[in-house]
């Protein structure tokens, strides 16, 4: 039995320990067979979800969710996403799938980033940030996306529709405080959509900026930001 296929089943059931989960997600980023298998197993675990039964939620829950969503609506509405109102999924698209899994991991798992100084961010960490009830969102100006900053100051960047970085180049994230740029991770932008955890916290008065740099990244930006938070 292929150990990875068994791990895929356990992953689809959320039955892995945190470290196993993270290791599996790294594997997933490079294994198309496991991605296809996971997509299929997720459909089965989704069916199990429908069969869970349980009581109906209190009506107040709906209002609470909508009220909190409303309260943190970024004040810049992104442009129309290029993938809005999708046509039926094509076979080719399905075959090319899961580079981002269910969208919550991506370039953060690239080998580039693996070597990158302090970044160690799997899907679980990104999900924890975007699901943090105390988090807030700040939109980017000049790009379709925003950052989500948790109560503790941990931040994830959510971007869509960004062109892949040119050959030999990489996007670099910066936390900008009082005009000082501190590196916060690299990404390739090779996927249309991205969630990535920043490798350093974002203080309340700081901005987040993105520049295009030589592969491997730099310690200080070599040019003005391509875009930054408002």
């Amino acid at each position: 039995m292929d150990d990875h296929l068994e791990l895929t089943a356990a992953y689809a059931l959320d039955a892995l320990e945190p470290q196993e989960r993270e290791r599996y997600e790294y594997h997933l980023a490079t294994c198309e067979r496991c991605r296809e298998e996971l997509a299929s197993f997720w459909t089965v675990s989704g069916a199990l979800a429908h069969a869970a039964g349980g009581p109906p939620p209190a009506p107040a829950l709906r209002e609470r969710i909508l009220a909190q969503a409303r309260s943190e609506r970024p004040n810049v509405v992104p442009l129309r996403p290029r993938w809005a109102l999708p046509a039926a999924a094509s076979v080719a698209a399905v075959a090319a799938m899961f580079a981002l899994g269910l969208g919550l991991w991506g370039s953060s798992l690239s080998r580039e980033l693996d070597r990158e100084r302090s970044a160690r961010a799997g899907a679980g960490e990104a999900l924890a940030i975007v699901s943090d009830p105390g988090a807030h969102t700040v939109a980017f100006r000049g790009a379709e996306g925003h950052i989500v900053v948790s109560d503790a100051g941990k931040a994830a960047v959510v971007l869509s529709g960004l062109e892949p970085a040119p050959e030999g180049k990489t996007y670099e994230l910066w936390v900008v405080e009082n005009g000082v740029f501190r590196p916060a991770g690299l990404f390739e932008g090779s996927d249309a959509r991205l969630v990535q955890v920043l490798s350093r916290p974002v203080p309340a008065n700081a901005k987040v900026a993105v520049t295009l740099e030589e592969e491997g990244g730099v310690d200080a930006p070599t040019g003005p930001p391509l875009f930054e938070t408002i």
Binding site: L5, E6, L7, A9, A10, L13, D14, A15, E17, A39, S40, F41, W42, T43, V44, S45, G46, A47, L48, H50, A51, A52, G53, G54, P55, P56, P57, R62, R64, I65, L66, Q68, A69, R70, E72, P81, W83, A84, L85, P86, A89, M97, F98, L100, L102, G103, L104, L127, A128, V130, S131, P133, A135, T137, H146, V148, V158, S160, R193, V195
Partner: protein
Amino acid sequence: MRIRDHAHLSDEALVALVARFDEGALAELYDRIGGIAYGLAYRVLRDESLAEDAVQEAFLGLWRAAATFIPEQAKASTWILTLVHRRAVDLVRREERRRSEQLDEAPEASTGSAEDSAWLNFERERVQGALRQLPDQQREALELAYYGGFTQSELAERLGQPLGTIKSRMFSGLSRLRELLDDRAERDAWTTTSS
């Protein structure tokens, strides 16, 4: 706020609108999936307040990260329920007391509430029927993992089985369940198209 009628849109189209922070689309998705999501979270957590937390956090995650959803990869409802389940198991794993209680009391099949739609009742029956066809040990492994929130290592320890045995039961159980559900889906599809 503009009120728009989203009822005619697919779940996937609604997620695309949520990515543009369309509140009505979020409300419509909650109305479609919130009940199932809460039922799932409640089954895992056995606590109303924690179940509400899991659902709220997952829907806020959806609100903040909908732009990253890839419609070619999964149905939107599957994606959302995966977020909810992940939040629920993360929460239950912090609740040691609840978890020790849960082992003695295997999660029972619920019949759901009278308010559920006919479709949901049908789907629940279909999946529960398929679960009943699994060998007992495979069903036990799936139910304790998915509804109980136990990791495979915890299951091995608590059931007194080697880890390899637990892994194999979960894999075989999930694979068999997939076959059972596929068979039925194909039969249903055939019935629909031929009618």
